[in-house]
Symmetry: C2
Subunit: 429 residues, 2 copies
């Protein structure tokens, strides 16, 4: 029977999950593939107690790529330094690569594509986006005949957990973040998650596959959840919306929107109902219409399950796809629109002193008809104990973002405090 030898670089949460799956589900994998999978080498910061002593241990992960007895190198180190060198070296040494490294692919896609071409290599990265949800495979294989017109993704479990906590338990952002850290859903330094970068790496990869183009992180618009307050969430709820951090890809004629930001979505839409640490990806295509996948976006075994699926695809020879969904010579050049060109509705909120301006006049005072307003809600702003400040929440008509920003620029700043705006999205699903 065919035997495939695997090296794992990095034994953090995901690496340990992959190791466990390959040990515990060995027979099942063989039953379904007629292949024996064997972990023959690992590398990690420290040698772990749970490792089978027969497995070769390397302090330097680069040595995995030089191990003549390794067929597939699984890169789970993360980041763009040693991980990048490891993948380069593995391809050079004629080894197949499996990685969960979204940052590396999103930021260095062109260079990695050049290695794949040069060495006729293969890199699988199902686990890089939405964890156990097989969305990469779906976009590349199941939806192969479709123009992918839109993708909306809840791609970061940490942010979704925090936003859910804030909404359901009326917790402040910082308290919810703290709890996420205690429960292991957020890292000690959560910057990458809460600022939206992690989600952006993922939507950039989905966008590349949807368009058959190189990933273009630089031109993406990224905004995180760290400015979202409990007031925003409460006001949104009054209007029937929830706030979710969304990765968004939209085809708009021959251009695309590719961005990450917190957005209001109607609470009745399915993606708005995905709470807690779950991930979800809603894809729309010209033939299949709608597809929504919901599942675990992180965790050792769920993400490990996606990594092992890639390993089996490679071992069986199912890995017949192009890195970015077209032969490199045919990759299309994407034209990403600037966020200022976005057309859509907006949620705007601010506070004003009711002793200074009357409720009847405030909108005229502030917007002077420069913005068409759909609905307004007034509430006492609890942050001011004197009860003299009113918090206004309003939903605009559809505008180009540039026009809205111009209008907000002209707002009489003497009258209002804490002005903010959040985009509104509609998935129609």
């Amino acid at each position: 029977m065919k035997k495939v030898n695997i090296a794992i670089a990095g034994l953090g949460t995901v690496g340990t999950g992959v190791y466990q799956i390959l040990q515990n589900n060995k027979d099942l994998l063989t039953l379904r593939s007629n292949i024996i999978f064997e972990v023959v080498a690992v590398s990690s910061r420290s040698k772990k107690d749970f490792l089978d002593p027969k497995i070769r241990f390397y302090e330097n992960p680069l040595h995995l790529a030089q191990d003549a007895n390794v067929d597939i190198v699984v890169e789970l180190i993360g980041g763009c330094d040693i991980a990048k060198d490891l993948i380069h070296s593995a391809l050079k040494n004629n080894k197949k690569v499996v990685t969960a490294n979204k940052a590396l692919l999103a930021l260095h896609g062109a260079e990695i594509q050049s290695w794949v071409d040069k060495y006729h290599g293969h890199i699988a990265f199902e686990s890089a986006v939405a964890g156990a949800n097989p969305v990469i495979k779906a976009v590349r294989e199941s939806f192969v005949s479709n123009e992918i017109t839109e993708i909306f993704g809840i791609l970061n479990g940490t942010c979704n957990f925090i936003l859910t906590k804030m909404k359901n338990e009326k917790q402040d952002y910082k308290i919810a973040l703290n709890e996420a850290q205690k429960l292991g859903y957020a890292e000690a330094d959560p910057t990458f998650d809460i600022k939206g970068n992690d989600s952006a790496h993922k939507i950039v990869l989905l966008s590349a596959l949807a368009q058959s183009s190189l990933p273009d992180y630089e031109n993406s618009f990224v905004e995180g959840i760290d400015q979202i307050t409990i007031d925003d969430i409460n006001l949104a709820e009054e209007f029937g919306y929830k706030i979710k951090l969304l990765g968004i890809y939209k085809r708009l004629g021959d251009r695309v929107q590719q961005s990450v930001y917190p957005a209001l979505i109607k609470a009745t839409e399915k993606i708005a109902q995905v709470d807690g640490s779950y991930n979800a990806v809603l894809s729309k295509g010209s033939n299949f219409e709608y597809n929504l996948m919901i599942g675990r976006g992180a965790g050792g075994l769920p993400t490990g399950s996606a990594v092992v699926a890639d390993i089996v695809d490679i071992a069986t020879g199912r890995n017949k796809n192009f890195l970015f969904n077209a032969d490199s010579v045919n990759l299309t050049k994407n034209k990403i629109i600037k966020i200022k060109e976005r057309v859509g509705q907006y949620f705007i909120s601010f506070s004003f002193d009711k002793n200074e301006v009357s409720k009847n006049n405030i909108l005229d005072e502030v917007f002077a008809n420069r913005t068409k307003i759909d609905k307004v809600i007034y509430q006492i702003d609890e942050n001011f104990p004197e009860q003299n400040m009113v918090r206004v929440g309003l939903i605009t008509d559809s505008h180009q973002e540039k026009d809205l920003l111009d209008a907000l620029e002209m707002v009489n700043k003497n009258h209002i405090k804490n002005l903010k705006f959040i985009r509104i999205e509609q998935t129609n699903f």
Copy 2:
């Protein structure tokens, strides 16, 4: 560039969809695969106007299998007669097969497996289950390392449309069915859909893949929606439940439950919220935990999208999987439990004459403590204009079905009318 020649047998809704996709998305398919896909031959009851005149037309679909210029035969005739002969003949003639025919695979799995073995053939059938939802690929490839412990599927759009109509518009079953027929969601003879057979074919295939075993339709339990009344739906709603026709696969130790029946599910569970003609599949696995896919389960382009994905998998060589998720010599023997062995909660309802038995005594009269009852609701039974009849709805504790049926058998039939029971399911998602 590699060229792959396709023959389509059957130009109904799905066949026409496949044809359209292969014509309209030709360039996209080539971009993503470096292969040119060409429909070279078709067969259908009548020659269609939209067909390119260069395409060979055969009245007898079996001739497609003998066309030396055909690489892939796409069987979209349905049923187990000529479709079966066509697939046999195609495999014999060394052609790959793509089919949407769930009935054929569920009923004749063993025979078809023997042909695949004999001719070293390949049959792809993604479109046979849940339309555009790539659930076959997910179970076989993405979840390859997992023991699949449970699958709950809304697998028949017709039934889901009817149940949704009944609930949302308080329509009787027959009126909702009528409307489904008018809108093209139900066939003139809807027996196969509403009796649950279609859903059963699908869950039998998912069950086979989950277990790596041959499909076993015969030992499955199948119950349709044709006995569900608006009273059931209304009472279920009072308890916080919706009624959905579910295909269910559950691993219970070394045995499995494999069945189709209408079930009450808590309205807060995600699968209960899938309404209208959509399909949904919730899978649970030992590593990935939960995966829910929602999308179109029927229609020419959505189902066609899944058929074309199979064509591309075959053409690129990605089709490296076993028909039923293991080499035929290794297929496991499934042990299906009888429905009477099911353990779970039940919804029971019946009517009684309040002039004959008092509300306080009715449950004792009827059940005499043979069934543990969790919650009860009493309503005037509107089907009796005298207002003397009361409809009782109740939710039992968890029981073995056999015990419940024994208890119902002993019910004093003089006191009650229209006794019925519906199973309750809990997905925990």
